[in-house]
C-alpha cells in the first residue's frame, strides 16, 4: 500500500496538483471579523485579495483543529497503513501541533509521521510534491521521510513584499522586526531562518526586486525545482517564469498563488520564489 501524503493549505499546492499527485490538503481558516473561510476551499485567492484591499479590518487566521486532521487520517487509514504529514513551520502556526495531536488520537491504527517543514508556501510545497511523487513510485514511509529530510536544507524561499503592513499587524515579523520604520520607501525581501521569518535584503523598486530575484536564482549552479508564486500580480509572476527559464527548464518551474492564509500576512503585490537546489 502506497504511503499517503498530507499537507496543509499554506503549502500552496493547487487543487489540480493535489488531485494529480494524490495529496490531501488540510485547509487553515482565514477570517474577516466573523466571516470565516476555509483556505482555498471556501474563498479563492482572487476573492480574498479583492476583499483584503477593500476591508478596513485585518484578517486573522487559525490552524486546522486536531479533529480535522484526525478525520483525514481515519479516512486515509482505510486505504493505507502509512501516512506522512508535512506542515508549515511550527514557529509560525499551530498546524504542526494539531497534526501531532490528531496522530495521538489515532492510537496505533496506522503509522503516521509529521514533519515540521520549518518553512512556508512552496518553500515546503516543493517538498510535498517530491514526497508525493516518491510515494507513488512505491517508496516506503522511511524512504520518503529520508528524502524530505535531505531536501529540507536545500529548499530556499525568498519573499518580496510590497508592504510589511500586514506581516507586522499579524505579529509575524520574527527576526525581521528591524526592517520596520524605514524612513525611505523600501521593498523588503524576507526569507526563512530556523523556522522563522528573517530579513534578507531591501530594494527600492519592484523592477530592482525582479532583478534581485533573477540574480538570486542564478546563484544556484544546479536546480532541481523552482516555484514562482504571487499574491495579486500575475503579470510579474509570468515575467519571472519567462526570465527564470534560463536557469531551469519550464517543466521544472511550478507556478502557484500565495494562499489567502499566507496572504493575510504577505499582502498584495507579494512574490514568493523557492529554489529547490539539486544534490551536489
Amino acid at each position: 500500500m502506497a504511503v499517503k501524503i498530507v499537507t496543509d493549505s499554506t503549502s500552496d499546492i493547487t487543487s489540480d496538483m493535489a488531485q494529480e499527485l494524490g495529496i490531501t490538503v488540510v485547509p487553515l481558516t482565514v477570517s474577516f471579523g466573523h466571516d470565516s473561510f476555509l483556505d482555498r476551499v471556501e474563498i479563492s485567492t482572487d476573492d480574498f485579495y479583492r476583499r483584503l484591499e477593500k476591508e478596513s479590518i485585518f484578517p486573522t487566521t487559525t490552524q486546522p483543529a486536531p479533529g480535522i486532521f484526525a478525520d483525514v487520517y481515519s479516512k486515509l487509514a482505510a486505504e493505507t497503513d502509512e501516512i506522512l504529514t508535512i506542515v508549515i513551520s511550527s514557529k509560525l502556526s499551530g498546524t504542526y501541533q494539531s497534526a501531532i495531536n490528531a496522530k495521538k488520537m489515532m492510537e496505533n491504527k496506522c503509522r503516521i509521521e509529521v514533519i515540521d517543514s520549518a518553512s512556508v508556501a512552496m518553500g515546503f510545497g516543493l517538498l510535498v510534491i517530491a514526497a508525493a511523487k516518491a510515494a507513488r513510485k512505491g517508496a516506503s514511509l522511511d524512504e520518503v521521510m529520508n528524502m524530505v529530510n535531505q531536501r529540507m536544507p536545500r529548499s530556499h524561499l525568498i519573499i518580496y513584499f510590497e508592504t510589511l503592513k500586514y506581516l507586522a499587524k499579524g505579529g509575524r515579523m520574527g527576526k525581521a522586526q528591524g526592517l520596520l520604520g524605514a524612513m525611505l520607501s523600501v521593498k523588503p525581501f524576507l526569507t526563512m531562518k530556523d523556522g522563522e521569518i528573517a530579513p534578507l535584503t531591501r530594494v527600492r523598486s519592484k523592477a530592482a526586486g525582479l532583478d534581485y530575484i533573477n540574480s538570486f536564482v542564478s546563484g544556484f549552479p544546479k536546480i532541481e525545482k523552482l516555484a514562482v508564486e504571487y499574491s495579486t500580480t500575475a503579470a510579474d509572476a509570468d515575467k519571472l517564469v519567462k526570465s527564470l527559464g534560463q536557469y531551469a527548464p519550464k517543466d521544472k518551474i511550478y507556478q502557484s498563488t500565495v494562499s489567502p492564509v499566507l496572504g493575510a500576512y504577505a499582502g498584495p503585490g507579494a512574490l514568493a520564489i523557492t529554489v529547490l537546489e539539486a544534490d551536489k
Binding site: K175, A176, Q177, G178, L179, G181, A182, M183, L184, S185, V186, T191, K193, A198, P199, L200, T201, R202, V203, R204, S205, A207, A208
Partner: protein, 547 residues
C-alpha cells in the same frame, strides 16, 4: 496674540491642548528613546495619555480663571497618570496649579514662579531623584524662566521661550548626566516629552497653530558628538541575573492619606518608588518583587483603583530581543558618516549601527571614526564615509584597531543609502563588503550647492553664491536659480532608465520647492517613483539619488 502680557484660563487650556496634539506627533519617536532599565517601555505614550486626562478635566472646569482651570488639570493629571514619566508629569501639573492658585490670569513672572514650584513638586514625589531625566529638564527650564522674568521683558512669550530653549539644551545634555543614556546614544525620553509640550505651548502662543498641523516636533539630539544609534551588546545580553520584578502602579483613594508617610513606608519595598497625591487620592508607582505585598498594604489604607502589574523581566527580554533585531545582522556593525540629524534618522531607520556626524567642510577625524568602531559591539565593522574626502580617513582606521574593518567607499549620501540597502542579512562580512561596494554604482548622485567663490570650471564661469549642480562629483550646471539648476542637472543625468528618484532637501531648501521639483519630474515621467525626504543637510540644498 504676540503682545499678550497676561493670559487667562481658557487660553491656558487651549495652549496645552495644542501642546498635547504637538506631543502626539512624536509619541512613537519618544517611545523609541526608551532605554531599559530606565523604567517604562512607552514614555511617549504614557505622557500623552496623562495629558489627555489632564485636558479632559480642564474641559470640565466651570470657571475660566487660570487658577481653577489649572487645578482641574492637575487633578486630571493625577487621576490619569501613567507610568513613571506620567506620574512625574502629574507632579509638575500639581506644582503649576499651586503656583497659579488664586490667579485670574497670569503673566511671565507668574509662569516662572509656577515652573519653579513644579520643579519642587516633581523632585518631592520621588524618594530617589535621578538627574539627567525629566526632573533636570523641568529644573533647567524653570531656572531660565526665572532669569528671563527678572529681566525687563517678562511677557509670557519671552519667559516661555527662555524655558523652551533651556529645556532643549537640557534634553541634549541628559546623556552627560545619565550614563545609561550615553551608552545607548539617546536623550532622556521623559525630558524630550516635556520639552515637546513646552515647545507646543509656545508655538500656540506664537500663533503657529496652522503650521503645527504640517510640522513635527523636533527630536533633540544628544550633545555628545558620538552617537551610536543602535548598540547591541552581546555581553549585555548575557548579564541578566538581577530580576527586575514587577512594575506595579495603582491609585489609592481614602480619607486622611499621608503621601509622605506612605512613601517612607514603601521605600524599602522596591525600586523607582513614586508616591504622589493628596489626602484623598494618592498614586503609587514601584518596581517590586512582591506586588501582592504592596497591594495588601495599600488596601488596608483605602480602596485601590487602576491597578496595573507588569512583569518587567518579560519586558526586559522583549527589549533585548528588539535591540538584537534592530541590528542589521549578528556580527556586523555599520558605521556611517552623516551630515545632520535628519539624514542620521534616515540612516538609522535603515539599520546603521553608529553615526559619526560629518560631511562636506566638517570631515571627522580618524580618531572619531575609530571611537565609533571601537564602540560598536561587533568585531566586524563596515564604514560608509559618504564623502570622497573622508574615504582615506576611514581607511586609516584599520591600522589603529584589532577589529576587522572594511571601507565601502561611498562618495555621496545616495551611494551610502544604496550600499546600506544592499546589505544582505544572510551573507558574511566579506561578501557584504563586496555586495555593498557593487551597489555604489547602482545609483547616480546629484548634488546642488552654492559656489563659495567665483571661478571657472568645466567651461562654466561661476559667480560666487550661484547655484551649481553636480552629477557624481562632476559639475554640469551653474546659474542663479536653484530650482532651474536642479532641473537642468536632472535632465543631464537622464531619467529615461530611472525607477526611483529620491530628493533629500537640505537645511537651506524648502519642502515647497522640493515639491515643485517633484511635480515637474512627475509631469515628464509619470511612471517614475519620486520620494521627497527632509535631509536637513548643510551646504547642499539638494541631494538627489537616481536609481
Amino acid at each position: 496674540m504676540k503682545q499678550c502680557s497676561s493670559i487667562n484660563g481658557r487660553d491656558f487650556k487651549e495652549m496645552f491642548t495644542a501642546a498635547t496634539n504637538w506631543l502626539e506627533k512624536s509619541v512613537s519617536e519618544i517611545d523609541a528613546l526608551n532605554v531599559f532599565p530606565v523604567p517604562d517601555g512607552d514614555t511617549g505614550t504614557n505622557m500623552l495619555l496623562t495629558m489627555h486626562s489632564t485636558i479632559e478635566e480642564a474641559e470640565k472646569a466651570n470657571n475660566s480663571n487660570v487658577s481653577d482651570i489649572c487645578q482641574a488639570m492637575s487633578r486630571g493629571a493625577l487621576v490619569g497618570a501613567r507610568g513613571n514619566s506620567g506620574v512625574i508629569l502629574s507632579q509638575i501639573w500639581c506644582g503649576l496649579a499651586a503656583g497659579l492658585a488664586g490667579k485670574e490670569t497670569f503673566n511671565g513672572s507668574d509662569l516662572a514662579n509656577a515652573l519653579s514650584q513644579a520643579t519642587t513638586m516633581a523632585y518631592k514625589g520621588l524618594s530617589n531623584p535621578v538627574e539627567g531625566t525629566i526632573l533636570t529638564v523641568v529644573k533647567d527650564a524653570a531656572a531660565a524662566a526665572q532669569a528671563q522674568a527678572a529681566n525687563d521683558n517678562d511677557s509670557v512669550i519671552s519667559v516661555l521661550e527662555a524655558a523652551v530653549n533651556a529645556a532643549s539644551e537640557s534634553v541634549a545634555n541628559t546623556p552627560r548626566l545619565l550614563p545609561v543614556l550615553k551608552e545607548a546614544g539617546v536623550v532622556d525620553a521623559g525630558g524630550q516629552g516635556l520639552y515637546t509640550l513646552l515647545d507646543g505651548a509656545l508655538r500656540y502662543l506664537n500663533g503657529e497653530v496652522e503650521l503645527m498641523q504640517f510640522r513635527k516636533p523636533q527630536m533633540i539630539a544628544s550633545s555628545i558628538p558620538l552617537t551610536p544609534l543602535v548598540v547591541t551588546a552581546p555581553e549585555r545580553v548575557a548579564v541578566d541575573e538581577v530580576p527586575f520584578g514587577y512594575c506595579t502602579e495603582m491609585m489609592l483613594k481614602g480619607q486622611g492619606l499621608e503621601p509622605d508617610k506612605l512613601r517612607k513606608k514603601l521605600k524599602n519595598k522596591g525600586e523607582s518608588l513614586i508616591v504622589v497625591g493628596d489626602d484623598t487620592t494618592v498614586r503609587v508607582h514601584i518596581h517590586t518583587l512582591d506586588p501582592g505585598n504592596i497591594m495588601h498594604y495599600l488596601t488596608s489604607m483605602g480602596t485601590i483603583h487602576s491597578v496595573s502589574v507588569r512583569n518587567m523581566d518579560e519586558q526586559h527580554q522583549d527589549f533585548l530581543e528588539m535591540q538584537k533585531q534592530r541590528a542589521p545582522a549578528t556580527g556586523i556593525a555599520i558605521v556611517a558618516v552623516i551630515p545632520g540629524d535628519r539624514l542620521s534618522d534616515v540612516f538609522s531607520s535603515l539599520g546603521v549601527t553608529a553615526i559619526v556626524p560629518g560631511g562636506q567642510t566638517m570631515n571627522p577625524s580618524t580618531k572619531e571614526l575609530l571611537q565609533a568602531t571601537e564602540q560598536a559591539t561587533s568585531d566586524k565593522v563596515i564604514i560608509l564615509p559618504n564623502n570622497k574626502n573622508i574615504i582615506l580617513t576611514a581607511k586609516q582606521v584599520q591600522s589603529l584597531t584589532n577589529k576587522s574593518i572594511r571601507v565601502v567607499p561611498s562618495r555621496t549620501i545616495p551611494q551610502g543609502v544604496a550600499a546600506l540597502l544592499a546589505f544582505d542579512y544572510e551573507a558574511d562580512f566579506e561578501t557584504n563588503a563586496t555586495i555593498m561596494t557593487q551597489a555604489l554604482s547602482s545609483v547616480k548622485s546629484i548634488e546642488v550647492t552654492r559656489a563659495v567663490r567665483s571661478t571657472k570650471l568645466n567651461g562654466f564661469a561661476i559667480k560666487k553664491k550661484q547655484a551649481i549642480g553636480f552629477i557624481d562629483g562632476t559639475l554640469v550646471a551653474a546659474g542663479n536659480k536653484t530650482s532651474e539648476i536642479v532641473n537642468d542637472t536632472l535632465a543631464k543625468a537622464g531619467l529615461d532608465e530611472a525607477e526611483v528618484v529620491t530628493i533629500y532637501y537640505g537645511a537651506d531648501a524648502s519642502e515647497a520647492e522640493a515639491r515643485a521639483i517633484n511635480d515637474s519630474i512627475q509631469t515628464d515621467y509619470p511612471d517614475l517613483q519620486v520620494e521627497i525626504v527632509e535631509g536637513g543637510q548643510p551646504h547642499y540644498e539638494y541631494i538627489i539619488s537616481i536609481e
